[in-house]
């Protein structure tokens, strides 16, 4: 029996070494973020709530400020780190955007802890790579919730603050359920509170939270907007449909579902929030293996069969729903929101140049817009 025990212990050590090395590498892999020519200031989120300093919840905040004063927009990527189109959209703007009027503030990895935690048990890849003209840019595949290594234990039921709505225990680690947060709450409540402080102190006019959603989920391929943002969202939806030929309908933000960015930011600040959703077939349940390829091209034979039976909420054919299309949609909708808002409030206008729109991203691929980190000065590269 002793021999069997020793053999089993050796097998355990081998399993722990192999899996532990891969998971450790994933958690500690650094993604270089290149601050493009438009970036004027870079701060940590802990600037707005010092208790975040030094924790995995702290993250970089990039400011792109124009020569002329104007309005301010906050763009959030990786609220859910398993919806990487948010991160890629934010990085395209950070690396390329040049602001003429107003200020664009970008947090590309809003739930930084979630970007260092994934679901190998669900067959998620640990990394994914975007092809560029200078090679492949490698990203960590994250998760919807923050890592339990940074916020643990989970409560039996998460009680939202301050509305006291009962939510799933997992939502205590989901930064799209912890708005507006509190300074002495759980780490993810502190993250959203720090962002609320940023919105209030910087007098932010618009907040755009970028996501992806399943094709079988009705709230997909849309702009989610509360009452105060609905008119602007509708104008943008109609404009992109007419001018750029893609659908992005408007979904009302439910007033009784608490903790979401599109609800609480509008209720607890002067800013107008918008949550953008693009279809991400990778997140649907009835798909084939959760591979890097499915994440990037969104092509799946099971979803195709379901689409023919009209079970999906978006048009779906053999071309799938590739990452370029998802990022392109987000960029066009973001630019159109800024354009329409600037037209309505010229004294708070936000004018940004050099950011590609839908057709350009679909034509060239999102990787075309990423700068090779080895060609820029090291002081322009940021690692979270």
């Amino acid at each position: 029996m002793i021999r069997i025990k020793i053999v089993l212990l050796i097998i355990l050590v081998i399993i722990l070494t192999i899996s532990g090395f891969q998971l450790y590498h994933h958690r500690h892999y650094q993604i270089p973020i290149v601050a493009g020519p438009g970036v004027t200031r870079v701060l940590k989120l802990s600037h707005y709530l010092p208790s975040l300093k030094g924790s995995m919840a702290d993250t970089w905040v990039f400011f792109l400020e124009g020569q002329e004063p104007g309005g301010k927009v906050l763009i959030l990527g990786n609220t859910h780190a398993n919806e990487p189109e948010g991160l890629l959209t934010a990085l395209v703007i950070i690396e390329n955007g040049q602001v003429e009027k107003g200020t664009v503030i970008i947090i590309p990895q809003f739930n930084h802890s979630a970007s260092r935690f994934t679901r190998p048990g669900d067959g998620y890849p640990l990394f994914f790579e975007i092809p560029t003209s200078w090679g492949k840019k490698k990203f960590r595949m994250g998760n919807r919730e923050a890592s339990p290594l940074d916020q643990w234990p989970d409560p039996d039921v998460y009680i939202h603050y301050p509305e006291r709505q009962l939510l799933s225990f997992l939502d205590a680690r989901n930064v799209n359920r912890t708005w507006p947060g509190r300074p002495n709450g759980l780490p993810m409540e502190q993250v959203t509170f720090a962002a609320m402080e940023l919105i209030r102190q910087e007098r932010v006019d618009l907040v755009i939270d970028i996501h992806g959603a399943e094709t079988m989920f009705p709230v997909t391929n849309c702009i989610v907007a509360p009452e105060k943002s609905a008119k602007l969202a509708t104008m943008v939806s109609l404009t992109v449909k007419a001018m750029e030929k893609f659908d992005n309908h408007v979904e009302p933000s439910p007033p009784k579902f608490r903790g979401l960015s599109h609800r609480e930011i509008g209720d607890y600040s002067e800013a107008m929030p918008f949550l953008l959703e693009a279809p991400i077939p990778f997140l649907d349940q009835p798909t084939g293996p959760k591979t890097e390829r499915l994440l990037l091209d969104g092509r799946d034979p099971f979803l195709l069969r379901l689409a023919r039976k009209k079970k999906l909420f978006v048009p779906y054919d053999e071309t799938g729903w590739p990452m370029d299309k998802r990022v392109g949609q987000h960029l066009s909708v973001t630019l159109e929101l800024l354009k329409q808002y600037s037209r309505r409030t010229p004294d708070r206008a936000i004018v940004i140049h050099n950011v590609p729109r839908y057709a350009e991203v679909v034509e060239h691929g999102v990787g075309y817009y990423f700068v090779n980190p080895s060609t820029v000065s090291p002081d322009k590269i940021y690692f979270n």
Binding site: S19, G20, P153
Partner: protein, 52 residues
């Protein structure tokens, strides 16, 4: 307060992991139980080492 509770959970995990290992060591007959003890130990060890 949150960090104190988290520290307690690490202590609880270490205690339970020790108990499981002790049961593994005392088991004299059933190999399937030995395998089960080790399978249950994996997530606890990964958590204690702050890997997963």
């Amino acid at each position: 307060m949150f960090k104190i509770i988290m520290a307690f959970y690490y202590l609880i995990t270490a205690f339970i992991a020790a108990l499981i290992f002790w049961n593994f060591w005392l088991e004299k007959k059933k190999v399937d139980r030995l395998i089960l003890y080790l399978l249950v130990l994996i997530p606890m060890i990964l958590r204690l080492l702050r890997i997963k």
